[in-house]
Each structure stands twice: as structure tokens, then as C-alpha cells.
């Protein structure tokens, strides 16, 4: 997914001279062709994220469209004030491409885990948050970033994630994708959890025959509240699943919509995500997701319990 994302930066740079790339201290092969073709627009500025976000904002204030790539924690945590003030207060077209969104860097420990990035980003005015489910959706969303007004944070997953998005479905920044129509229940996903939602829906359809809808929210902000309300309205059971702390992410956003919509009868609602802890183990992204029950099995189990109740 990171490769597709950076390949797209090069493609965009070929057709739009406003596109600039800025890295911190990335691998030696990063965007080699970009550097060769557009050396004046390629920057590798060292481990200095505050400066990078600031200078990118300066470039954007001057009409450029800088794409910054580094590990996401160093952007959303280390350079948080620069993201808020330099980028978002000035409301300029900087694109943060954050590698390792979620539990991707599990083997590297808690310093590298981006499990609160979307909560931070959601609280920042003007910032658009994209969390694609796979490399193909990444390409489709990235293609729209060049002419999109305002700052964007793109959460990049591990890479090699199975492709589950469909080119047949509309993919537009700010518009959730109803991948499966709502039935007895609705699963709402973001990022790579779309696959978990689809797998759970498939399992239940072929097993008990339960009809489970899947709504994929690749744009966590701005959130299309109206569309989400319409999709949720006829459904009694709603489950959110995310690779993120339960505080402030997708589940919180949907809970806010449900709470304010005042549905009658009340929805049966459950959030699946990371509890309010620093993960203690290493292992892999998959093993940590399992330990936090961010799994298809848990989704199926909760759906059975809620729908049957």
C-alpha cells in the first residue's frame, strides 16, 4: 500500500508541477525515479519532523502541494503542533502520508504504534482523514488528492493487504462506500478492517443466512453523517471495527452519530478496537489484532449474540 501510495505521488508529479515530495530519512530507493526526473521537487530532510511539516506548510502557502512521507507516529505525535498550526490553521494543501497506521509496527514496540493517530487527527479542524483498505483504493483516493482543497492525512497500512475494494463502486473522498447493503445488521469499517467485515458477512450469509451489511468509511473526516444515518436507520444492530484505540476513532464517531440521531427503537451497538492500553507484547500486527479481538471471529460472535438477542 505504501508503494502504491508513493508511486501515485510520482504519477501526480508527472502531470502537476505543484507536487513536491518530502521525506525524513527513508530508504535509499524511495521515489528514485521522482528524484531523477524532478530533483528540484524532491526533498529528504532528515529526522526533523517539526521542520518538515513547517516547511511543507510554507511551500503549500506558496501554492505547492507537498506530500510528506514518514512513519505516522512521528507526524501525528512528534509534529502534532506543526500539523495543527502550520498545516491546518493555515488550511493549506499538505498531504501527510503516514506509514504504519495502526498495529503495523508491532514488532518494533509501542513507540512506533499509531493507535491514536485518527483520534488526534479527528480533533484538528480542516484536516481530512483517509484510511484506505487496500492498495487499489489507495490509488483511487490518491488520484483525488492533488486537486482537493485543504490538508489531508493518509493512513497507510502494512502493505500486501488483500485487495477487497471494487473498482465498480464509487470511490470519492468524503463518501463512505456501502459495500454490502444493510440487512439485519451493519458492520462499519475503516482501513484494512473492511476485509474483516466482508469475511464476517460472508461467513454469516453462508452459515446462518444472516444478512449483514458492510459500510466502509475510508474518509473518517469529513464524515458524511447524513449518508451514514440513512444507512443505519433501518438496521437494528450496528458494529464498528477499527485498528485503533476505542477512544476517538471510527467507533466514537459512529457512536456520536447514533447518540444524536435519537433512533427509536434504540440501536444495539458495539465497538471493536484497541482498549485504552499501551500494547505490552511484540509479535506481529496480526497477533496483536488477535489479542485485541479485532478479528472476523469476534465480529461473527458479536453479530450472532446481538442479532439473536
Amino acid at each position: 500500500m505504501r508503494k502504491s501510495c508513493l508511486d501515485m505521488v510520482y504519477e501526480l508529479a508527472k502531470t502537476d508541477s505543484r507536487v513536491v515530495f518530502i521525506g525524513s530519512d527513508l530508504g535509499p530507493e524511495t521515489l528514485k525515479q521522482f528524484k531523477k526526473d524532478f530533483p528540484e521537487r524532491f526533498f529528504m530532510e532528515g529526522i526533523s519532523e517539526a521542520n518538515i511539516v513547517g516547511l511543507a506548510s510554507g511551500l503549500a502557502m506558496e501554492g505547492k502541494i507537498p506530500y510528506i512521507n514518514t512513519i505516522t507516529t512521528f507526524l501525528m505525535r512528534r509534529a502534532c503542533e506543526q500539523v495543527i498550526l502550520d498545516m491546518c490553521l493555515h488550511n493549506v494543501n499538505v498531504r501527510l502520508l503516514g506509514s504504519g497506521g495502526g498495529l503495523v509496527y508491532a514488532p518494533l514496540g509501542p513507540t512506533h504504534l499509531a493507535i491514536e493517530d485518527m483520534a488526534i487527527a479527528r480533533a484538528i479542524p480542516n484536516l481530512t482523514i483517509l484510511a484506505p483498505c487496500d492498495a487499489e483504493e489507495m490509488k483511487r483516493l490518491m488520484a483525488q488528492t492533488v486537486d482537493y482543497q485543504g490538508p489531508i492525512y493518509v493512513r497507510i497500512a502494512k502493505g500486501g493487504d488483500p485487495v477487497v475494494s471494487s473498482p465498480q463502486l464509487d470511490c470519492k473522498i468524503g463518501q463512505p462506500v456501502l459495500v454490502r447493503p444493510a440487512g439485519e445488521a451493519l458492520v462499519i469499517t475503516t482501513g484494512i478492517t473492511l476485509k474483516l467485515g466482508l469475511d464476517a458477512a460472508d461467513q454469516l450469509a453462508t452459515g446462518s443466512g444472516m444478512k449483514v451489511g458492510v459500510l466502509h468509511v475510508h474518509t473518517l473526516k469529513p464524515l458524511d453523517t447524513k449518508l451514514i444515518q440513512e444507512v443505519m436507520a433501518p438496521v437494528r444492530t450496528i458494529i464498528t471495527i477499527e485498528e485503533h484505540t476505542l477512544i476517538g476513532g471510527l467507533g466514537s464517531a459512529i457512536a456520536e452519530i447514533i447518540a444524536e440521531a435519537g433512533y427509536n427503537p434504540a440501536k444495539k451497538f458495539k465497538r471493536i478496537g484497541i482498549p485504552d492500553v499501551f500494547p505490552k507484547e511484540y509479535g506481529s500486527q496480526a497477533s496483536q489484532m488477535k489479542s485485541f479481538s479485532i478479528t472476523t471471529d469476534n465480529l461473527v460472535s458479536i453479530l450472532n449474540e446481538k442479532v439473536g438477542a
Binding site: F43, A50, N51, L55, M61, E62, K64, E81, H90
Partner: protein, 277 residues
């Protein structure tokens, strides 16, 4: 270097006194503000806008203009006084400082105040933004120059030194950092809170061409600024030795005047009187 400027009152000319009186009147109107931090800046900004910068107040976003960022945003009363004097906005705005219906706040905001190039106030942000401006000029082969004025206390911030490394690496000849080295922070003397010395040498070691100057001597400032870039293919830094609260006997080097949240009519009278008003 710390003691290079003696604490002796320079003879301030009428223009310098008038700009300071404007600052006092703004502070009176808002009943708050960073007075001493603005007084140390007056001559720096005055010389930049009177003699050095290219700009057009009727077209604040003119592409060829020089970009001037006040990174020590709390010194904005001085900037507002100078920008208004140059015609960027009407005088009536000065007296709406910090009011709900005004465009001028306790820190300057881009997009609200014509002539303000970046929103600053949280320290340590202006240099990186200025580097972005300077890099854009290089990419697009534009001749404008970028000036970033920072405070000495601001140079405690790591982001300033990240920016200094970056500007040095890129040999940004079109970028100048101006330091208002007034030797005082909020808590006390800069050398006590967080010593910056050897300050000039620090900037040099980061790849800057560096000079220092009496930051209240208009002629010296003109001469130094007119010689920028000091060295080809290097960013410049001008360390301006200034006096916090410069111009009034009881505000100079007086921590009580770093930031005021109230000001009495008697204080206003005393200030204006000393400033020749």
C-alpha cells in the same frame, strides 16, 4: 556578546517614538499585550519596512513581495503599528485589538491581517515556514527574499535548530533570520533561563553567515540589512542586540512589562510622556 550593548538610552528619533506611542495606545485599547517584547523590535521592523522590503500594501499577496514573518508572534504590537503605518489596514483596526470585531489579536494571524505572512504565537514555527517560502522561490526561480524575525527565548526551541540545519544544508541565500536578542525571557535573563551563548558561533556552525548589530541603531541596521546576503550561498542571520522594553525608563529590562493584562491610566500617561507624546 551578551554585554555588547550597554544599557544606555539611545536617542530615539520621532518615528521610533511615535511607533512606540502607537503600541502603548493599542495596549491601552485592549488593556493587555506584550509591551516590552514589542519595544525591543521597533527599530528592526521599522528599518525592514522603511528601507529593505519590497511590498505593496494595496496588493498584500503580490507575488514578487519579500516575505517577512514575525516568528516571535507576541511582539505583534510592533508589527501591527508598522503595517498600519505602511497602509496595510486602517488605523481604526489598531484600537480594536483583541476585540471580537477586530482583525488584530494578541498574536498575528495569516488571512486576517493584510501583510501578516504566517500565523505565529506558538514559538519556533516561523523559521520552518520561512524555509518553505525560500524553497518555493528557488523552485520557481523567483527573486523575492524571506525574512524571519525570531526572539532569543524562541531559540530555546528545538524546531529553530532543525530549521537552522535545514537552511544551512540548502544554502538558502534568500533567507535571513533576524534575532531580537533582548536578553530577557518571561522568567528572567535569557542567560539564566537557558543560555544561548556562544550564540553567533552557533548559527555559524549551522551554516549561516552571521553578524551582530545594535538593534536600536537605525543607521547600523540599515547598513547591515542592505548587505544581505552576507555571504553568497549561505543563509544569513543578523543578531540584533536589543533592550527589552526599550524607550521608557521603567519598562527597560523590567520583567513586569513582558506581558500586561491590565494597564492603568497613570501608566499610560507616564509611558506617553516619556515617549514624547
Amino acid at each position: 556578546m551578551r554585554l555588547a550593548l550597554k544599557n544606555e538610552p539611545n536617542i530615539l528619533d520621532e518615528r521610533s517614538l511615535k511607533l512606540r506611542r502607537t503600541v502603548v495606545k493599542m495596549l491601552e485599547a485592549a488593556n493587555r499585550g506584550h509591551l516590552a517584547s514589542a519595544f525591543s523590535l521597533i527599530e528592526i521592523l521599522r528599518v525592514l519596512y522603511d528601507d529593505i522590503l519590497k511590498f505593496n500594501p494595496n496588493e498584500p499577496r503580490w507575488i514578487q513581495r519579500d516575505r517577512c514573518i514575525l516568528s516571535k508572534g507576541h511582539g505583534c504590537l510592533a508589527l501591527y503599528a508598522v503595517l498600519q503605518d505602511k497602509g496595510f489596514f486602517p488605523e481604526s483596526e489598531l484600537w480594536r485589538l483583541c476585540k471580537t470585531n477586530g482583525i488584530l489579536g494578541g498574536h498575528p494571524e495569516f488571512g486576517k491581517v493584510p501583510g501578516v505572512e504566517a500565523s505565529t504565537g506558538s514559538l519556533g514555527h516561523g523559521l520552518a515556514i520561512g524555509i518553505g517560502f525560500a524553497l518555493r522561490a528557488r523552485i520557481d526561480k523567483l527573486a523575492y527574499r524571506t525574512w524571519v524575525t525570531v526572539g532569543d527565548g524562541e531559540c530555546n526551541e528545538g524546531s529553530i535548530w532543525e530549521g537552522a540545519l535545514c537552511a544551512g544544508k540548502h544554502k538558502l541565500e534568500n533567507l535571513t533570520v533576524v534575532v531580537d536578542y533582548n536578553k530577557y525571557m518571561s522568567y528572567g535573563p535569557t542567560h539564566v533561563v537557558q543560555d544561548l551563548e556562544p550564540f553567533l558561533e552557533k548559527w555559524k556552525s549551522f551554516g549561516f553567515a552571521a553578524v551582530d548589530v545594535d538593534g536600536h541603531n537605525v543607521n547600523d541596521l540599515k547598513k547591515v540589512f542592505a548587505q544581505i546576503p552576507i555571504v553568497k550561498d549561505r543563509p544569513s542571520v543578523v543578531i540584533c542586540h536589543t533592550i527589552k522594553g526599550k524607550g521608557v525608563s521603567f519598562t527597560e529590562n523590567n520583567l513586569q512589562w513582558h506581558h500586561k493584562t491590565t494597564i492603568t491610566p497613570e501608566e499610560v500617561n507616564s509611558l506617553i510622556t516619556e515617549l514624547g507624546g
